[in-house]
Amino acid sequence: MSDITTTSAADLSAALHAGDLTSVEVTGAYLDRIAAEDGELGAYLHVDAEAALTAAEAVDAARAAGRELGPLAGVPMALKDVVVTEGVPTTSGSKILEGWRPPYDATLAAKLKAAGTVLLGKTNMDEFAMGSSTENSAYRITRNPWDHSRIPGGSSGGSSAAVAGGLAPWSIGTDTGGSIRQPAAVTGLVGHKPTYGSVSRYGLIAFSSSLDQAGPMTRTVLDAALLHEAIAGHDPYDSTSIDSPVPVLAEAARRGARGDLAGLKVGVVRELGGEGHAEGYEPGVLARFQEAVALLEGMGAEVREVSCPAFDLALPAYYLIAPSEASSNLARFDGVRYGLRVGDDGSRDLDEVMALTREQGFGPEVKRRIILGAYALSAGYYDAYYGQAQKVRTLITRNFAAAYADVDVLVSPTMPTVAFPLGSRVDDPIAMYAADLCTLPASLAGVPAISVPCGLSEGLPVGFQAMAPALGDDRCYRVAAALEAAQDAARGHRLLDELGGRPRPKENTRS
């Protein structure tokens, strides 16, 4: 088989099952690359090589003893640091949780542990998942494996860099306004945001509870489907969890890869890069997107343009709703039960200690959002801001419902641009927020959406987004797999294979 650190998780799983590889070999190969390359790449916040190898040995021993193991047993895994892991440091990218070792596992972490996956480490992220470039991490920047002077996307930028850069076969990200799909798009990966409520949020450090959802970030569509199936399902510990059977996704991906989309109705969203709405979209991104649409058409899909006017207000609605929920959620960081406490010298009271702790423990973007959320929720402004944003959310949901009466999936670019240079938007929150333009509508409506690579623009990956109705995640996988297979066949190799051996300029030299 090909190199352990570039192959798909599905192929690793097969090789482990067949006995061609051991988990120790696979895990060791990844740990070696992490040791050699993560100092520069910055994908991880925490790696425990010893624990990973111990877990890998246990899987190998169980397999050698003839125990029946699940398909994921022995496959290494990286988790975004927003996922609570028992005994393993978890920070959510924030200094306020530095050194915290949680006393329990998130439901999805427990599921992956029970499935026999081997935890390589916890990946870097924007602090509390607030950001689109991972530059808001309190700890380090993460570089894009395609160009080290550029962002890996965010907020799940450590997860995207790890998988694209060969430092993990696949990873878990979380998506509140696009934080799985956008980093996947800019690093040439597949990233899927499941239907809201279909993956448990128990043990995910909350940012915006009505939007947060965890999902897979992988090298192939099939891998994403397999990982999604492993973490999905009803969880009584999450009261927003949907009580329905785990969806059949890998089969949808395999069927999609056969390339028959006859009868599938695809709606191209005008408001996301279409006529009259292309401002801010790079021509190269739109060109790759249109080529991908043509490929779908070539496989039998019926393509039409669809208008969703309320999508124009998704960005302002999101940047009211998410900060409002965050200002409430982050009140739990009070310096009492876990994490940092500052200024407790006996002279200060609880309020003062709390204010000093939060001042030192939170970074600027988190503070901005807490303040903005407090404002939007305050008496006198609630109706005009938060209340109005919630009504816009209803309008967006209605646009989706109307569109899905006519089409099976809606498609758009995942992000208006390719990865931008590190440092180029950090001082301009509005410019940073624009990176989420295409991903926000699906977040606000709670519908599933996938990003799949659709080629390069200026040498950097472009993402294609497919959105489906709630609980129609299988449609996302079908379309994404068809597109992936058609492109791989035309190209003769995977897009990610073009990453190997390319020069890695430290500085951006383009004008």
């Binding site: 006393p103 329990y104 809201y196 009505s210 939007l211 927003t240 949907i242 309320a310 207000l313 960005l315 302002p316 609605a317 940047y319 009211l320 009070d334 009492v336 039960r337 876990y338 994490g339 940092l340 406490r341 407790d344 200060r348 009271d349 609880l350 309020d351 003062e352 709390m354 204010a355 000093l356 939060r358 001042e359 939170f362 600027p364 503070k367 901005r368 807490i370 303040i371 903005l372 407090a374 404002y375 939007a376 008496a379 402004y381 109706d383 005009a384 801001y385 209340g387 109005q388 944003a389 919630q390 009504k391 816009v392 309008l395 949901t397 929150p429 509005i430 927020y433 519908v447 709630a470």
Partner: protein, 105 residues
């Protein structure tokens, strides 16, 4: 009910007040920085006011569910020592907190 601030009118004093309500001991420099940035953000998000929302109900959640119940079954709590191990300060098997009342209280 007052009307929202006009464009770009989140003042430095308002930011200071909101920071205090949010228990954030922001510095003078941060107040200057945030007041400018938040005014710009507020301008952008105020766009939601353009939507015609007559007779539109708010959406609080993508999945409409109310009163989700589960069986009332006792299960063990996390071990006390494990939980307290994560606390910044613990004493006598409890979280230790700074005083909550002023000297005169």
């Amino acid at each position: 009910m007052s009307t929202p601030s006009p464009k770009g009118h989140l003042t430095r004093d308002e930011v200071a007040h909101l920071a205090h309500l949010s228990r954030l001991a922001v510095s003078e420099e941060e107040l200057d920085l945030f007041a400018g940035q938040l005014a710009a953000v507020l301008d952008a998000v105020a766009e939601v006011g353009k939507a015609d929302v007559a007779d539109v109900a708010p959406t609080t959640h993508a999945v409409p569910m109310t009163n989700v119940m589960r069986p009332d079954v006792a299960r063990p709590s996390l071990p006390r020592d494990v939980v307290l191990a994560g606390a910044p300060f613990a004493e006598d098997d409890r979280f230790r907190v700074p005083r909550i009342l002023g000297e005169e209280a």
